[in-house]
Structure formats: structure tokens, C-alpha cells
């Protein structure tokens, strides 16, 4: 057993989920090599090497790896592949883009969106938007094939740091392909934290259609230092970006506090918030399913209740 863990990073910072992803790798067992591929990303390598259980860190710096282009990164991974039995990536847009490409190139055995590790060949993953969990075991006939896995970091506790950082080895990162060319990117226009790393998330749903915009939610998020999420209904209505969507077809989140504002609680949305520690809900329909899953729920009109709640919160926090 020899694990290669693919580290995600952006703007020269290691993704916050890395210590959680590492926990899943450690539960599988065996030495863990972390690959940091990019351009000028030494700081990312330093950050990843600090965590307990990292045996070695491979730093592959080259302009061709700068934007995480799948064709290039996959070519690099294929060069490293013979040395490893397990390839693990986060179940994020980054990992979901890269790992299946690698897996097919290797005709590897693949399992994605893992939320639990029973042993080195038995895993738990959600199906039907998390409305069921299935436990799958690798059939003995296929143990000789490499395993490619994506892991949902929110399902694992973070690994602590180690006193002696893992050694960093620089390798050739050059892997160019003419299949695809990166053009440009633009960040979302917001200063708030990202959905999947935020401690507090507030999300709006179909109830916001009445207002025609998300301003009320955005203001509340600003006040709470929260990330802004949305339901599929709100995304379909053009009130929020699809990257803000929480649920079956969007992001699965696990914040400390989740506030559902004007959200009825469709099965596919609830699938995305089940891991939230405390759920607050405000909805004017007393029969909305969100009330049954929320820890604290209020039946009220959102447009009057939310400003009231924020005002009261200000008063309480001043005390």
C-alpha cells in the first residue's frame, strides 16, 4: 500500500480541507505521499508537510501546472503512477475534474464521494443525494488494480500537525498538452468565506423569489460573517450562482451553524445540510419539511423576521 494524495491549493494557499482529507488517507493506512503541483507553490508544500502522517511531499512546479489543467496534471500523475497503489483527491470541483481522468487512464478501480473508511478496501459513500448510504467492499479479484478515490473532507475530522515536517522533494512538473488551453478566470464578487469552509452559512430559497434578489440574505451574511448559499429553486430562478447551490446537485456543507431562510426543505436540499452542527430555519409555512430537520425553527415571514432577528442579535451581543 502506497498512497498518493493530491493537494488542492489556490492563490498559493493550501486548501483548508487538506487536514481532513489526510485523515481519510491515514485511515486507509500505509505511507502517504502528498503531491503539490502548480507554479511557484513552495509555501503550499511547506504548509502540507506540517501535518501528521505525511511521509513525503512531492513538489512539481512548472508553468504547465499553474491552472490545474486536467490534461496536464493527469499527464504528470501518470508519470508518478507506477509507484503508487492508491490515489486520493478531494471531492471538490478540482478533484472531481482530475481524478476520473486519471482513473480511466489507469483502468483503475474507482470510488468517489467517500464519507467513511471502514478498512483499506471497504468504504461508505452516499447515493441518491445522501438519502441512503452504501457500504462497498473491493472484490478480491481486483485488489491488484490501483484504486482511485475522492473523499468528502467534511466527513472527516482534521489531522493535527507533526513536530517534524515531512521532507520535500522537487520533481519535474512539466507536462504540456495541446488538448486544452486555459484562458482566464474570475472570482465571484464577494468578500465572504467559501461555502465549504465557512463556520456559519446562511442560505435562501424559493421564498426569496418574492424579493427578486438575495440582498436580504447577503446583508445578513455580512452581519454574521457567513457564507451565502442557495437552493436549487433560487439558482434556477437566477437569484444565485450555481456554485452557491447546496444540496444533491450542488455542494455538501458541514458548517457549525446553518440558517435556512425561506427554504422549504426539499429532499435534495436537505441532503446537502445534514452534516451541519446546528440548523436554524425561518419559513412562513408551518408544514415545510425544513421545520422537522431544524434544531431551532421559526414559523414567520422571512422579510419581517430576519431583520428583527439581526436587530435582537445586535442588542444581545452588545450586552
Amino acid at each position: 500500500m502506497n498512497i498518493l494524495l493530491l493537494a488542492e491549493h489556490r492563490q498559493n494557499r493550501l486548501a483548508a480541507h487538506f487536514p481532513r482529507l489526510l485523515t481519510a488517507a491515514r485511515q486507509i493506512g500505509g505511507p502517504i505521499t502528498v503531491l503539490v503541483a502548480g507554479e511557484a507553490c513552495l509555501e503550499v508544500a511547506y504548509a502540507a508537510a506540517q501535518f501528521s502522517g505525511v511521509t513525503e511531499l512531492l513538489l512539481a512546479e512548472h508553468a504547465s501546472q499553474k491552472e490545474g489543467v486536467a490534461e496536464n496534471l493527469c499527464a504528470l500523475l501518470l508519470r508518478l503512477a507506477p509507484e503508487f497503489t492508491h490515489f486520493i483527491a478531494p471531492a471538490t470541483p478540482f478533484g472531481r475534474h482530475i481524478l476520473p481522468r486519471l482513473a480511466a487512464s489507469l483502468q483503475a478501480t474507482t470510488l468517489t464521494e467517500i464519507i467513511g473508511v471502514i478498512d483499506a478496501t471497504t468504504f461508505i459513500r452516499p447515493i441518491h443525494a445522501g438519502n441512503a448510504h452504501c457500504t462497498l467492499r473491493l472484490r478480491p479479484a481486483f485488489t491488484a488494480h490501483p484504486l482511485c478515490l475522492t473523499v468528502r473532507p467534511t466527513s472527516f475530522a482534521p489531522t493535527p500537525t507533526q513536530t517534524q515536517p515531512a521532507p520535500i522533494q522537487k520533481i519535474d512538473g512539466k507536462a504540456e498538452s495541446d488538448l486544452s488551453r486555459w484562458i482566464d478566470q474570475a472570482p465571484r464578487q464577494e468578500e465572504r468565506p467559501h461555502l465549504n469552509s465557512a463556520q456559519v452559512v446562511i442560505a435562501g430559497g424559493g421564498g426569496m423569489e418574492k424579493a427578486g434578489n438575495f440582498d436580504l440574505i447577503t446583508e445578513a451574511a455580512h452581519r454574521l460573517g457567513a457564507a451565502v448559499g442557495a437552493t436549487r429553486t433560487a439558482v434556477d430562478a437566477g437569484l444565485a450562482a450555481s456554485t452557491q447551490q447546496i444540496g444533491q446537485t450542488g455542494q455538501i456543507i458541514a458548517p457549525k451553524i446553518y440558517i435556512a431562510a425561506g427554504i422549504s426543505g426539499a429532499i435534495q436540499h436537505l441532503a446537502g445540510i445534514k452534516d451541519a452542527k446546528t440548523i436554524f430555519a425561518i419559513n412562513n409555512d408551518p408544514h415545510a419539511p425544513i421545520h422537522t430537520i431544524a434544531d431551532f425553527s421559526l414559523t414567520a415571514d422571512l422579510f419581517t423576521a430576519l431583520p428583527e432577528i439581526l436587530q435582537e442579535l445586535d442588542r444581545l451581543q452588545k450586552e
Binding site: R101, T110, D178, L179, D236, I282
Partner: protein
């Protein structure tokens, strides 16, 4: 330009999910089916490209049982020109064998573009599109929310959702693209189109004849309902909710 759209039939997600008594499967008896919503978006994008004169033919393909013919007919009613069913009753079909089958179909059909849904909403693997791209040695763009293509183009420009916003990539054709929610809003099939679809070609072939190994590599140990949350508290007013929220915020 020929476009290939792989499709999957899925159980209606609005129906409550029932786990089989033996805990080894989902009880789908009496549950309606539909075209996987992401695949419907991919099909819509392909049909719009044909209507714009950029594509000449839209071919839909499924790897699944005979009962999926209904969904392929729906796709024909939604504007596909031709349908293929790669028939198999293999249980627990995994994404890699499906991608291997689709590769064979691409070799036969020679599409310039494959447009696929980002994931199916039942098994939620999120694998098949990029797997197919790898097997064909083509470029890939996943989670597309906008595509720009001209009929003479050698490349396609794709805007894709990423964690921090969006990015644009240019892919050399042929290529594989998986689509996200925001790309378009699929149309409904009109009655005349449903009737007309019956005349469109629908070809069946056997997965076994493609020479692809369909053996599942994973064994299902059990399926369980996710753990339930303890019952919550209904608060009386906004002040009480604010009070509880303040307590939880202070604990972070």
C-alpha cells in the same frame, strides 16, 4: 458537426426513497422515472447547437436495460435525431465500464463533441464524462455553464464553475464536456414532437457485443438510511431565535 449525448434514466427524486428489505438495494417498484436532469441540460445544449446550424446531427446513447428505451424516446421528442441503446441488464454497472462502452460508440460514430451531464442523480458518481475524455485521449471541461462554438471552429470555449468563481478554457475538438445547472433551461416535449419521435431511428445493440468487461469491482455490503437528526425545537418568535443563535455563535 455530430454531437453525441450520453443519457441515463433515473428514478424520480421527488419520490421518497425506500431501501429494500435485504438492505442491498433501493426498492424502485412503483417509482416513476425521468431523464437524468443534468443529461437533459446536455441534450438541450446539443439541440440548440443543431438549431443554430452549428451541429448537423445529435445522437443520444444509453448503456442500460431495455426499459430505458422510454427515456431515449423522450430524448428523441426533445430534439435528438437518432438514439442508440447499448443494452445490458448487468447489475451495479460502474462508471468505468460505461465509459469503456461509450468509447466504443465514439469510435463507431465519430462525434466531434460529446456533451454529458455532470453526474446522475441516483448513483452520484461524477465520473463518466472525464473518464470518457481520458479513454479517447480528448480534452475535457467539466461543470460547464456556458459554451461558445462556431461551425468552422477547431476549438470550443467553455466557461466552467470552479470553487472560487469561474474559468474559461479552450478545448481542441473533438472534446468531452460535462454540463452544470446554469448552462440552460431544458424545453418540454410537445405533443407533435412526441408523435414525430416515433418515426426517428432507434438502434439497439448488445453491450456484450462491444467486448467491454462489465464486471463490477465493488461488492455491495449494505445500504442504510443516513443517521437521523434529533427532533428540534420550534421557537415562538424572532427574539427567541436570536437568543439561540447568539448562544451558538458565542460557542464557535
Amino acid at each position: 458537426m455530430k454531437i453525441l449525448v450520453p443519457l441515463k434514466q433515473v428514478p424520480d427524486p421527488a419520490a421518497p426513497l425506500r431501501i429494500q428489505g435485504d438492505g442491498l438495494g433501493i426498492d424502485l417498484q412503483g417509482v416513476g422515472t425521468l431523464l437524468n436532469p443534468f443529461d437533459a441540460i446536455a441534450l438541450e445544449a446539443a439541440v440548440r447547437l443543431r438549431e443554430a446550424g452549428i451541429s448537423t446531427e445529435v445522437v443520444v446513447v444509453s448503456v442500460g436495460p431495455e426499459s430505458w428505451l422510454d427515456t431515449l424516446r423522450t430524448a428523441l421528442a426533445l430534439g435528438a435525431d437518432r438514439a442508440l441503446l447499448v443494452e445490458t441488464n448487468a447489475p451495479l454497472l460502474e462508471p468505468l465500464p460505461i465509459a469503456n462502452c461509450l468509447k466504443k460508440i465514439c469510435t463507431l460514430e465519430q462525434p466531434r463533441l460529446v456533451l454529458a451531464g455532470r453526474q446522475s442523480i441516483d448513483s452520484d458518481h461524477i465520473q463518466t464524462g472525464p473518464m470518457l475524455a481520458a479513454l479517447l485521449g480528448w480534452g475535457q471541461a467539466t461543470f460547464a455553464n456556458h459554451i461558445e462554438l462556431s461551425s468552422s471552429a477547431l476549438e470550443i470555449i467553455v466557461t466552467r464553475d470552479i470553487e472560487e468563481g469561474w474559468e474559461r478554457v479552450a478545448l481542441r475538438l473533438p472534446a468531452v464536456i460535462t454540463v452544470d445547472l446554469r448552462l440552460n433551461e431544458p424545453r418540454y416535449a410537445s405533443l407533435p414532437n412526441i408523435l414525430q419521435a416515433r418515426k426517428k431511428p432507434l438502434q439497439r445493440l448488445l453491450a456484450a457485443d462491444l467486448g467491454v468487461d462489465l464486471t463490477p469491482r465493488w461488492e455491495m455490503i449494505n445500504i442504510t438510511a443516513p443517521p437521523c437528526r434529533p427532533p428540534g425545537l420550534r421557537v415562538k418568535n424572532g427574539q427567541e431565535l436570536a437568543q439561540r443563535l447568539a448562544e451558538k455563535l458565542a460557542a464557535i
